[in-house]
């Protein structure tokens, strides 16, 4: 069946069953690489995207349940040539080793910064508590989110 999804500001029609996990639609039908398959169990956060501004685990979200809510993936933040402050901050802090968890980290961070532009380090840690990183890049990730908050604050 056909589904219509609003992803990164654009409407997309895809042929997929409504109970297809949103993650597979984003990756395989829309060729978006940001959200990653990590567990399929909503335990690791690698697949995190924003739906209506909320950080959501796309691996357990049926594509048919999203309706006309806005979906934002890592690609919706910015591009290589025109990166979002969060992306700039992660580059400036060199906040990735293998980087597999990073898109999910950044989307959880985006949801945090949108509701709290000046979080404390503890608030960043709590907001990212459901996102697992295995390389041990956590300290840099925290620094990057705090830096992004400052950059986004200045931009306003």
């Amino acid at each position: 069946m056909a589904l219509t999804l609003k992803v990164n500001g654009k409407s997309h029609r895809v042929e997929a069953d409504s109970d297809t996990p949103l993650l597979y639609v984003l990756r395989n039908d829309l060729a978006l690489n940001g959200a990653k398959f990590g567990c399929g169990l909503a335990q690791c956060g690698a697949c995190t995207v924003l739906i209506g501004g909320e950080a959501v685990r796309s691996c357990v979200t049926p594509a048919g349940s999203v309706g006309d809510a806005d979906i934002v993936t890592l690609e919706g933040l910015g591009t290589l040539n025109n990166p979002h402050p969060l992306q700039r901050a992660f580059i400036e802090e060199q906040a990735a080793q293998c980087g597999y968890c990073i898109a999910g980290m950044m989307m959880s961070a985006k949801a945090l910064l949108d509701r709290n532009p000046t979080p404390s380090e503890q608030e960043v840690r709590e907001a990212l508590s459901g996102n697992l990183c295995r390389c041990g890049t956590h300290p840099r990730i925290i620094r990057a989110v705090l830096r992004a908050g400052r950059m986004m604050g200045k931009a306003q």
């Binding site: 069953d17 290589l80 992306q87 580059i91 597999y100 508590s129 041990g136």
Partner: protein, 733 residues
Amino acid sequence: MTPARLTRRQFAAGLTAGLGGIVVAFSLSGGARAQKHARLPGSLARTPKLDAWLRINADSTVTVFTGKVELGQGILTALAQIAAEELDVSIDRIVMISGDTARTPDEGFTSGSRSIEQSGMAVRYACAEARDLLIKLAGQRLNWSYDELTVQNGVIYAPGTKKVTYGELAAQADLRRKATAQVRPKPAGARKIAGKGVARRDIPGKVTGVATYVQDIRLPGMLHGRIVRPPRPHGILDTFDEAGVKALPGITTVVRDGSFLGVIAEREEQAVRAREFLLHNCRWIGGDQLPDPQQLADDMLSGPNTASVVSKEGSAALGATTVLEATYTKPYTAHASIGPSCALAQFKDGKLTVWTHSQGVFPLRRDLARALRLDEDAIRCIHGEGSGCYGHNGADDAALDAALLARVAAGRPVRVQWMRDDEFAWEPYGPAMAMKAKASLAGGKIVEWRYDVWSNTHSTRPGRGDGVDLLAGWYLAQPFEPAPAHPGGGDRNAMPLYVIPNQRITSHFVRKMPLRVSALRSLGAYANVFAVESFMDELALAAGADPVAFRLAHLKDKRARAVIEAVAKAAKWKKAKSDGRHGRGFAFARYKNAATYVAVVADIDVDRDTGRLRVLRCCAAADAGEIINPDGLTNQIEGGIVQATSWTLHEAVKYDAHGIVSRDWVGYPILTMPEVPTLKTVLIDHPEEPALGAGEAAQGPAAAAIANAFAHATGKRLRDLPLTPARVKAVLA
């Protein structure tokens, strides 16, 4: 074209398209120097031809080929730095090609923190020699003497206005010659790029969603596969509901070969559903009965083993002075990559192409050839990044899985990604280990030391010998056996760097493996350093000495002393009494006694009610010889400390008689963001010394520093890893 900018099409084309590089035979009189018999540096010894390592392109870019692969450790950036440095070109002109059996040197595995030493030195000497050749050619072209020419960003200038670019000389620069290593690379003091904090080339792509990983490759006509594994190792597939699974939507093929069972579907979620269906609609028989996990250490200590002496000095008999004895253990631990293993495979015209995040595309190819009964020449393995692996995880196994499915996919490519429980239940684990230490003290010094370690092998990687070390190979109708396990890795860092006049260190290789094991970051060093450095702390306490002073009193190695003194200074180490809740611990090791020196001070806090141990802060000092990229080195050291904190506090593979129980992140928890300590790292640079591997150097010291901090906080010693709340409460009760 940095790795970050690889497009899908380039992935799909297998990176076969030329880059305008020209390698034309051109004989230079006197060009070949007398070959010395000395061994060529790094991997040049195995692959001596210069054109195996680099190619000068007509557009003045340089393509550098390496057999080492990016695992998130930043190696491709570090190698690009080295090449840019020696060639005098900006780093953005270096194109890195890595891990491709059709294009790059065979450098075995990217493991053991040896990439700089092996590939880095090959690239350094090859590029230095290429630059020398280019300047000679420029001299002829511009009619100036060699010594008066200068190079800036790939342009060779003669005094005045005359110049020629590398690209203009590309056609003439014949690199199809054996390296001589007679052209000296730049001295340490002259380096401008290598040794500096160059930004990682892969990070911009990773934070913007550029296709980076094997998981991101989408080939035309690609199908999706999933594997259905037995409930326990070596289970035999009796029957399965073939009609039922074939009736599910999108299923193109169900593959059964003996007890290997896989499904292929048009869409990924269809393959996932079919696997789920089969997990509930298969009948498996037999399989391994796993031993009682509570008896693990006893089984190892009392079972058959092959002992070998690692070190023997002076008298082996312990004297009658103060004698201490302790036993330490480490459980099975998982690599637990965030992204489950993935591979793509395609059979076309009798040739197989595999896209893999294996750590060694050449060894993988050897085992694939055996398992599929193909010639190695008929297989091409191309590396693409995966989720961090930290050793031998499911990457290689997924490659055979994909190939077995692709074999019946009529030329269409098949992508296989393991599910979370596949990764946790079937990856080869880091082995369990047991360590017994015994020492005697006299006059505040260790006079005798006896240390025994029991361990399975730490490597069952593919490509080792006569056998197939790929999971699916053992389940085929005509099954293969793994190559015989050999001792190795368990004795890593069993020998302390300390000066102890009488010592005997013995490694006991335990051949029997109830669980499948292989290389996990630092191999035996993590557990051995945990044991040795915990024991050093116990001895310091018995001697009434400060833990740092006690180590220094037993060390001659100047660089070891400098690292210890640096961390003591940075952490403001001083003798302090504990309040019963907060503690501070110290530990030190030189990885493999030959690579990076790391010393760690850990500050912890213990909640006596919940038994929860928190690591608040870690301060580290590291000496990795010549530092190629300070920021990259810090990242490796700090990543190692955080990962080791997770291993030390939380991690153990859980199993019962029927199989693996820890199959998700609830069953196998790792350190979460709120638990991560704050970190501070001091680097000691020795530009004149060889660059040393650092990726595995911090784990052991971090673990022991945490355990020592717990002992400082509570006066009680935890000797069994991990340091769980249950064990904390038990020891404090």
